[in-house]
Symmetry: C2
Amino acid sequence: MKDEPSYKNRKVITIGVVSELTGLTERQIRYYEERKLIFPERLARGNRKYSFSDVEKLIEIANKREEGVRTYEIRQEMIKETKKENDKKARNKMLRGQINARFGIQKD
Amino acid sequence: MKDEPSYKNRKVITIGVVSELTGLTERQIRYYEERKLIFPERLARGNRKYSFSDVEKLIEIANKREEGVRTYEIRQEMIKETKKENDKKARNKMLRGQINARFGIQKD
DNA sequence: CGTGTAAGGAATTCTGACACG
DNA sequence: CGTGTAAGGAATTCTGACACG
């Protein structure tokens, strides 16, 4: 289904660059992590690394914050999104399972 | 022709991360720049930033170096590659020009 | 030529805390 | 709650140079 694990999700960007890219202060970026909105990796001794996905997510967070949405609410929305996707995946998987059961195994 | 300027070419990776990603020392990476093999951007006060393309190019360079190819030769090959691509683009452009001349202007 | 290293300085990042509201 | 800031330390990056071969 996915062709490249690729660039978009590789955690390689330092917080300083993320700050430039998003216009957020480092303080804000670290705080959103504390509130469980983003999950940077820690490569070398403690340094945070972000992906392009993280940068995009941060921009969305910034937009919502400007509208006055609280971090807690943003988190709830994110959880809902994730759940919806997982349900979808689960449905697809089940469907494939039924197809395989009736028509035999097939590559996907 | 291209859909996204996108992730692959954005210069956002610091030299330390590039070093981890490629297995090259920072010294080597800076030297290849000196030899005009790669062209990082300088964002904040002097810090080098690389793209995923740069990382891939560096991996190719590392492979060639292992085979004993000199930086000068690698550069020559790169120039040849670039030239070939430019010629191709020029041909396409000319062709489009002729088509437009005969059949009228068309969006591309 | 290609790479290592010691040198000294400047900029980055980190954490925990106090502040305001 | 969300963000700013001063604090002190640790790690990063930079440049120019000397070294070896």
